[in-house]
Amino acid sequence: MKIAVLAGGRSLERGVSLRSGARVHDALRSLDHEVVVLDPGSDLVTRLKRERPEVAFIALHGPGGEDGTVQELLEIIGIPYTGPGVIACMRCIDKVMAKHLMREAELPTPDWVAFNATAFRELGAAESLEEIEARLGFPLVVKPARQGSSLGVEFAASRGDVPEALVAAFSYDDRVLLERHIMGRELAVGIIAGEPLPIVEAIPKQEDFFNFEARYEIGRTEYACPADLTEAETAAVHDAARRTWDVLGIEGFARVDLILGGPDGPPEVRGPQILEVNAIPGLTDTSLLPQAAEASGLTFEDLCARIVQLAGRPRAYAAG
């Protein structure tokens, strides 16, 4: 089969995407597919039309590649592609929209408040910070609404940290959210075609606990897969992840990140608390989804083959 691997792009996660793409390229080649790697730029459509792949394997991360933009183009020119469709991508990339949908569906997600920069610049949002802080309490986490990895994610231990954290988060997106920080275990659930994989637990070093950027550096966080959870905990986490998959309308594969609130916390934050969903999770040799797949007995080649097999036909613009 002729497959175009889309990797690189203009997002801040270009480096990760290139690593994901290179690994996918090698795996698909070893499966005897004809593989061409395309780095999306202004000539993407021209090149896709020229190459005429049977499937586009999207290994792009962040805005542009994971937000429905490329998916929409592939729908228009009629090339089947891997991963979630346009609408699911749009829901997942925007943490604020995803949280609204989860809350509406009564899925557990930490309390939050969202702002765009205009609210501060033109509508006096700063005056509401006191109420927000009272509602969410400290510590809290400040995140750009649409950004992957840990980019722009800041931890505010007290009031004094909030302005600086907001300025940092607004560097990455015009919309940010302030989210209640939940103490608990950090888990990730890879899902393929609605079936959850073994759960991965991220165990940061003590000194990196509040430094999100450092935690993404190789060797600074340990991962356990399958995570050491009781049967009941595993079932609860899998159930929450699968319901999230349904609520956001995901197809293909994705990764759900969540916190398992400890039994000592307030009742409303015990158990699984969904943080976000990655529509196109990392596929590098240190990424979590491949680790989870391996724990379930799938090699990376198996994983890629399965993802390709699930590539959806274009549907958004299908007749009728």
């Binding site: 801040l12 996660e13 480096g15 501060f120 302005p163 940092a168 560097s171 990455y172 430094n211």
Partner: protein, 417 residues
């Protein structure tokens, strides 16, 4: 951060991030003629291995260059290296064991940081002001370390038009630094890639000249006055040290590119290198002026920056609530890049500063790049002031008043995370 830096290489990005000299100024016809002559007259030799120390002819060129700055090294003390970067690496390889103390400026050359880290040095950074490294602080540190029974292996400095700060160590401080080196038997590694790229004012004596080569190990390069692509640098060190460095070089790569050395020998034989350096100085002076004018015009009053009299870099410091690593993400959305200041520190300091290069882009590009960076900085300043309701006093300090140490406060920033 590494991923962000990868994006700065995109062709549509105006990059003020690199440290690139303008190699387009070198006449292609001259390059072609020299390479042709090498092929016609010395093909077999130029394609062969060479001595680890480098050819005598290359070392003669090096002596000619160093003489232009008032230095007269013994040819036996010179080793030709694969760029100045390898010289720094070889000095560390020779002198540094894991846990050894090494001292450098704060901020320091970002390319030296991974070298010190890879040899597991305990790195101390000395603050700077507009007259370069605070040698009084160096002395205080030496006293403190002596009390602890610790002897640093060397102090690494870029005294002229420092990378990244753009400032130059004053004559008085140069003399004092050499005295401190003698008093404490401290090796000084003088890295001088930009000394000949002076736009105005009188040249200052290199540390190597002041010291006579007893305690000063000199690192030089052809990268900024000719070409970084030929990867040719050198190191000058006293006999016991140079012997070890030669052994280290043998282990690393046997010898520096023979072809590159032949090119340099040919180039110097034409005796036009001074004209070319003069041409570069003229180009870079114009670009420096364009950058300083643009900074004045587009950066907010809360920012401050250095005014280099030579070299390739300006160092700008923003209000401490702006993290330039985050700011780079925002700037990249506007297709412009710089180096976040934390790259020049080993300990997370410098996070509200940035290094801006003016040698690698044309004047119009520089103006546009600074305009875009200025816009994102202004946006973040306005946002912070809106959020906090604060309108802080302008931070820029006049250079006519007060302690010069206040002019360039390369301050320690509280770790926030």
């Amino acid at each position: 951060m590494r991923d962000l830096m990868a994006i700065t290489a995109r062709p549509d990005v105006i990059s003020l991030a690199g440290g690139l000299p303008d190699t387009s100024a070198f006449p292609p016809a001259s390059f072609a003629a020299q390479m042709t002559r090498i092929a016609q007259e010395s093909s077999a030799e130029a394609l062969q291995y060479g001595p680890t120390e480098g050819f005598e002819g290359t070392r003669d060129c090096i002596r000619e260059l160093m003489a232009a700055e008032g230095m007269e090294p013994d040819p036996e003390d010179i080793i030709v290296t694969t760029g100045g970067q390898q010289a720094i690496d070889l000095v560390c390889k020779t002198l540094v064991d894991p846990g050894d103390a090494v001292i450098c400026e704060g901020p320091t050359y970002p390319g030296a940081v991974p070298v010190f880290s890879s040899y597991e040095a305990e790195t101390y950074q000395i603050e700077m002001d507009e007259d370069g490294m605070r040698v009084d602080e160096l002395e205080a540190l030496m006293r403190r370390l002596e009390l602890d029974g610790c002897r640093p292996k060397f102090v690494y400095t870029v005294p002229s038009f420092q990378n990244p700060a753009g400032v130059t160590l004053s004559g008085e401080r140069r003399r004092r630094l050499v005295e401190i080196a003698r008093e404490y038997e401290l090796v000084v590694v003088e890295d001088n890639p930009y000394g000949l790229l002076r736009f105005e004012g009188d040249p200052l004596p290199p540390l190597y000249q002041l010291d006579g080569g007893d305690y000063v190990v000199y690192v030089g390069t052809f990268s900024k006055i000719l070409s970084p692509g030929i990867r040719l640098g050198w190191c000058v060190a006293p006999p016991p040290l140079i012997e070890k460095i030669v052994l280290g070089k043998q282990a690393a790569d046997l010898c520096t590119s023979t072809l590159a050395q032949y090119f340099v020998i040919e180039y110097f034989a034409e005796e036009r290198w001074r004209d070319y350096v003069d041409r570069l100085v003229e180009i870079y002076r114009g670009r420096r002026d364009a950058m300083l004018e643009a900074l004045e015009r587009h950066f907010p009053e809360q920012a401050e920056w250095t005014r280099p009299a030579g070299g390739l870099f300006v160092w700008a410091t923003l209000p401490e609530y702006i993290d330039t690593g985050d700011l780079l993400a925002k700037a990249l959305r506007d297709d412009v890049a710089f180096v976040p200041g934390s790259a020049a520190y080993v300990d997370g300091r410098g996070s509200s500063a940035m290094r801006l290069n003016f040698s690698g882009s044309g004047e119009d590009e520089i103006r546009e790049g600074i305009r875009r960076i200025g816009r994102v900085v202004r946006e973040q300043v306005a946002l912070y002031e809106t959020i906090t309701g604060e309108h802080p006093r302008p931070a820029r300090v006049s250079t006519e008043h007060g302690d010069p140490a206040d002019v360039l406060p390369l301050r320690r920033r509280e770790m926030r995370r």
